[in-house]
């Protein structure tokens, strides 16, 4: 199952909490987290790396918006 977390506009540490909750869900095979702040982008990528050991893929979708994706 593909799963999308929309963490845009969320203040610290909500994007990381939402990401971690999704990473704990074993039914999710691929995760995409949408963020709109550089801080959230760094924090979410770091959370994915520390929880899964995998480097997430980061795509800028619009000016100042990113999609951080990882296959689980």
């Amino acid at each position: 199952m593909q799963h999308i977390v929309d963490a845009r506009g969320r203040s610290c540490p909500e994007p990381v909490i939402l990401t971690r909750q999704a990473l704990n869900d074993k039914s999710i095979e691929s995760l995409t987290v949408m963020v709109d702040a550089a801080v959230a982008r760094e924090n979410v990528a770091r959370a994915i790396l520390s929880a899964t050991g995998k480097q997430a893929q980061i795509n800028e979708t619009a000016g100042g918006e990113w999609e951080i994706s990882v296959k689980l």
Partner: protein, 358 residues
């Protein structure tokens, strides 16, 4: 050590060193940098409260906002945004100020007090960590102040514009600006040093996301020591600086701008930690976010100023003599309100913030 961690360490070293240096240059003892104290002094200078000993247009504060603004613009991170429960943030900011003034210092000053041997700050730190732990409970339960949205650039410019306004007032020094003749408010490093130190700290805090609340929060919640490293670096450098400057004095009694009521040192920082955790960052972080264009954070800063002024107008703020009864009552009421907000302002995550596709 990764590049990010080195940067964080560097930021901590800088803040710790400047924290001690500003005292040598004239700031009150153990108050090289204190965001809540300085916002309180600014409120006094603007005439929002009439506590004659704590009125001063502290230039570190506009420095933080403008340093963050410049760094954010330079690195393409300035972004006008807002709309995440501003009125709640305003009052939560005000309440954080009041409880921080029961302890006598924001989380940053707590670390600087620790580094000068003030053991009352150990009690405060325990309370602070407990408060953050309670905040984490609410965050895990789904606490949120709601999402923010992109806003017109003008909204994001309010923080930096307000900072420039304060600098102009300090330079022009019109007669309606108050300035303490005695007490902590009369002690200040020269204007350019205060502003310069503020700009530097603001810029590095913007780049590294340095946050006192975040340090303990991420450690408890995610076992992530990234932000905590900055916290520890501030402590170590300020400790060394205080030892060198001869201003290290270990003990509970007779500490500068502090009291020895253990219970309210604990409870004051407990409420401060909880409130700041729910707000997503310590008072310093709110100033940095305000510089980056976050108008919700700027609303919180306004709340911090009004709360600090109220603390003095209503006789809630502590002094070296202790915590007034009004302040003790306010501390309990605020703690109860934070718990109430923590329980009520939440969402059921699965349905609102996330969605799945087969």
């Amino acid at each position: 050590m990764s590049g990010e961690r080195k940067k964080m360490l560097g930021a901590g070293l800088l803040v710790g060193a400047l924290g001690v240096l500003l005292v040598v240059l004239g700031n009150p003892k153990n108050m090289g940098v204190c965001v809540v104290c300085f916002l309180r002094d600014i409120g006094g200078a603007l005439g929002l409260h009439r506590a004659a000993i704590v009125q001063n247009l502290r230039m570190e504060v506009p420095g933080f906002i403008l340093g963050s603004f410049l760094a954010a613009v330079l690195f393409g991170e300035f972004k006008s945004r807002g709309g995440s429960n501003p009125i709640l943030r305003f009052f939560m900011g005000a309440m954080v100020s009041i409880t921080a003034l029961v302890f006598l210092g924001c989380p940053l000053r707590m670390v600087l007090r620790l580094a000068a041997g003030d053991l009352n700050a150990v009690v405060g730190l325990i309370g602070f960590a407990c408060g953050i732990a309670v905040g984490i409970y609410f965050l895990k339960r789904g606490f949120t102040l709601g999402r923010s949205y992109p806003q017109h650039k003008v909204a994001g410019a309010v923080g930096p514009a307000f900072a420039i306004f304060l600098v102009v007032l300090a330079v022009a020094a019109p007669a309606f600006i108050f300035r303490s003749g005695s007490g902590p408010g009369s002690m200040a490093a020269p204007l350019l040093y205060s502003l310069g130190a503020g700009l530097l700290i603001g810029a590095v805090a913007q780049r590294t996301r340095l946050c006192m609340v975040g340090g303990i929060r991420d450690m408890i919640m995610f076992k992530d020591s990234h932000l905590l490293l900055g916290f520890i670096a501030i402590f170590v450098v300020a400790l060394i600086g205080n030892l060198l400057a001869g201003s290290f004095n270990l003990g509970f009694a007779d500490q500068p701008v502090a009291h020895t009521n253990h219970f309210y040192n604990f409870l004051g920082m407990l409420a401060t930690g909880l409130g700041a955790a729910l707000l997503g960052g310590c008072p310093l972080r709110q100033l940095i976010l305000a510089g980056e264009g976050d108008s919700d954070a700027m609303v919180t800063v306004m709340g911090l100023i009004v709360g600090a002024a109220t603390a003095h107008n209503f006789g809630l703020a502590a002094s070296p003599a202790g915590v007034p009864v009004n302040g003790q009552i306010a501390n309990w009421v605020i703690l109860a309100l934070f718990v109430l907000i923590g329980f009520t302002a939440h969402e059921t995550r699965k349905t609102t913030a996330t969605k799945s596709k087969k």
